[in-house]
């Protein structure tokens, strides 16, 4: 972050739901082309943090910045239009549409024709259709789904539906990509190739924020890890350092275990989320 404008920054971000504080005073920034993993036990506030950044929730207090622009409280579509694109933990693909139609919908951000050009099927609208179709095919090839473009999205196996949602997000040509548990439902080789894909795209200029439970992916893919627990940021740093952080271990295994001396570095690598 030294001297460079952060791609994304949150300051004192807080969100309450009634008496429950889902996210509390989180400060964090993400440098351009960085891959940041957000980890934490279930209910730690990770998805709420994503919802706050992407405009699906308004913060109770605190601010969100995209580069130098304060985007706190902007509608989700306007934030997405900036290039801050997200995927969803519970998958929001368009099940009845074909695979390629799903991805074509992702191209909305950088295309321009409106109702009148569409109504009259003007050349601009049809030219855009061809561009969008090509871009969609390209995005499908990038995630490794090139041969299923005409299948109905809901007929894909779950892992491929995940990849489809990522392809749709890529089709938006994001500057910042927020992935909510992208490897859930993926096989180990699929997860590894997703990490490789993130690294390739980062080289092309994309910044990543990834909620991830798979510690192999975190260790392998992330430049930096932010750990949330009960809505607060409890640790931040390179994956290896965070993995050894006693507070992180306590968050995952429960405070009692630490105080009883049962947890040590040897127990950390699994980092199974504890049930709440």
């Amino acid at each position: 972050m030294t001297g460079r404008t952060a791609a994304l920054r949150v300051a004192g971000l807080t969100r309450r739901f009634g008496g429950v504080v889902a996210v509390q005073g989180v400060d964090a920034d993400v440098a351009p082309q960085e891959i940041v993993a957000v980890i934490g036990p279930n209910g730690a506030g990770k998805t709420t943090l994503f919802n706050l950044i992407t405009g699906f929730l308004s913060p109770t207090s605190g601010d969100v910045y995209y580069q130098e622009t304060r985007i706190t409280g902007w509608p989700a579509s306007r934030i997405a239009a900036l290039g801050v694109i997200r995927t969803f933990q519970n998958l929001l693909i368009f099940g009845d549409a074909t695979v390629v139609e799903n991805v074509m919908a992702g191209c909305h951000r950088w295309t321009r024709t409106g109702l009148f050009q569409a109504a009259l099927a003007l050349p601009a609208a049809r030219r855009e259709d061809r561009q969008v179709y090509e871009a969609a095919r390209e995005a499908l090839a990038v995630v490794g789904l090139p041969d299923r473009e005409h299948d109905r999205a809901r007929d894909l196996p779950f892992g491929q539906q995940r990849l489809l949602e990522i392809a749709r997000a890529l089709a938006a040509r994001p500057t910042v990509l927020l992935l909510d548990e992208p490897t859930a439902g993926l096989s180990a080789p699929e997860a590894r190739s997703l990490v490789a894909l993130m690294r390739r795209l980062r080289a092309d200029g994309v910044t990543f924020v990834v909620i991830e439970h798979n510690m192999d992916v975190v260790m392998d893919g992330a430049d930096r890890v932010i750990v949330l627990d009960y809505g607060e940021k409890i640790a931040e740093g390179p994956p290896q350092a965070v993995q050894r952080d006693p507070r992180v271990i306590a968050a995952y295994l429960g405070d009692d275990d630490v105080s009883q001396g049962r947890a040590g570095p040897a127990a950390a690598p699994t980092m199974e989320p504890r049930p709440r």
Binding site: G43, G45, K46, T47, T48, F50, N51, T54, G55, F56, P75, A76, S77, R78, A80, A81, I85, R86, T87, F88, Q89, N90, L91, L92, I93, F94, G95, D96, A97, E101, M104, A105, G106, C107, H108, R109, T111, R112, T113, G114, L115, A118, A119, L120, A121, A125, R126, E128, D129, V132, R152, A153, R154, D155, L156, F158, Q161, R168, A169, A172
Partner: protein, 335 residues
């Protein structure tokens, strides 16, 4: 694409040829009314493509009719001018109605359009000095297509069906291209659409205004075709009637609009003619009951409309194992 073009050409040819086969005044009037209803229904289906339902289309239809009738009667303007003016004015009204109404989610938006429809109908009845109240407006200037004589039924037939085909093409195009992709995204999941940068409320407003303009255009033609208007054909009952046409056609199926309008109008004629023969003493309420039951049955068994429903059914019979539903829901993201 080419299949669609062939279908459209076949449809257009059939429409051009139809008056050569059927030429009784009754049949022509019925076809003209179907054409007008088809335009309203197409608007409603366009709206349905954004996942919205309106129970106020009869009000827009009526506003188009009254506005064009009043302008041409009061100011002596040519109906060829007043119909587009009325259509544009109703589009502005729809925009004003949409500003608050579109903030409401789902069922509450339907209720808002329902309330709007009732208010408009009450105004038509009560603003006697402007609308003529329950007596309506008589002597509405005729539309002239050739020369100085009022257009004939047959001329109206070609005008109405040219407009129906034109609005069909426009609706088909709007639901293609970038706008169509945005609408389909909204229909599938407003959350996912917004996450891709689609301004959900803007697109909903656009199709809402377009649907009102469709209804107003049909209403304007109607006023100068029948040349007499009164509040009753624009009451809530008519809105329900239009909605059933859209549902029969398939709420998101542009091509189903013509079918829905034709099927329900013909059914209505049959019911009007046959039910009194079987049950001589029933009142007019039975129609509402029949339509209510019809609406519920179609929504339960053919939620995609009768045309697609039949295709689905054939598909299901040919492939007995149904495709399992994917996890693609429309729930808001939550932790």
């Amino acid at each position: 694409m080419t299949r669609e073009r062939a279908g459209f050409a076949l449809l257009a040819a059939g429409i051009v040829a139809l008056p050569l086969v059927v030429s009784t005044a009754y049949a022509l009037t019925l076809l003209n009314v179907i054409g007008l209803y088809a335009i309203v229904t197409l608007g409603l289906i366009l709206l349905g493509c954004s996942g919205q339902v309106s129970l106020g289309q009869a009000a827009f239809y009526g506003l188009g009719a009254y506005a064009s009738a009043l302008l041409s009667r009061g100011l002596g303007w040519n109906p060829w001018l007043t119909i587009p003016i009325a259509t544009a004015a109703v589009a502005v009204v729809a925009y004003a109605v949409g500003l608050p109404a579109l903030r409401l989610a789902g069922h509450f938006f339907v209720l808002a359009t329902l309330g709007f429809g009732i208010i408009v109908n009450v105004l038509m009845v009560q603003l006697v000095s402007v609308t003529g109240g329950g007596n309506g407006l008589r002597d509405i200037p005729a539309l002239q297509i050739t020369g100085i004589h009022p257009a004939t039924d047959r001329q109206f037939y070609y005008l109405i069906w040219a407009l129906a085909l034109g609005t069909l093409l426009l609706a088909r195009n709007i639901t293609s291209h970038r706008t169509g992709r945005a609408l389909r995204a909204i229909l599938a999941s407003e959350t996912a659409a917004a996450a891709l940068g689609v301004e959900v409320s803007r697109y909903k407003m656009q199709v809402f205004v377009a649907s009102a303009a469709y209804a107003a255009l049909a209403g304007g033609i109607y006023a100068h075709y029948i040349r007499f208007i009164s509040p009753s054909p624009f009451a809530l009952y008519a809105s329900l009637f239009f909605l059933i046409m859209a549902v029969v056609g398939g709420l998101t199926n542009i091509w189903g609009g013509l079918f829905g309008a034709a099927a329900v109008t013909v059914l209505d004629q049959v019911i009007r003619a046959q039910v009194p023969r079987v049950f001589p003493r029933v009142g007019g309420e039975y129609q509402t009951a029949i339509y209510g039951i019809l609406l519920v049955l179609i929504m339960i068994f053919f939620p995609r409309g009768l045309v697609r429903g039949a295709i689905d059914l054939r598909h299901a019979l040919a492939h007995p194992l149904p495709a399992t539903g994917g996890p693609a829901g429309a729930e808001p993201p939550e932790e």
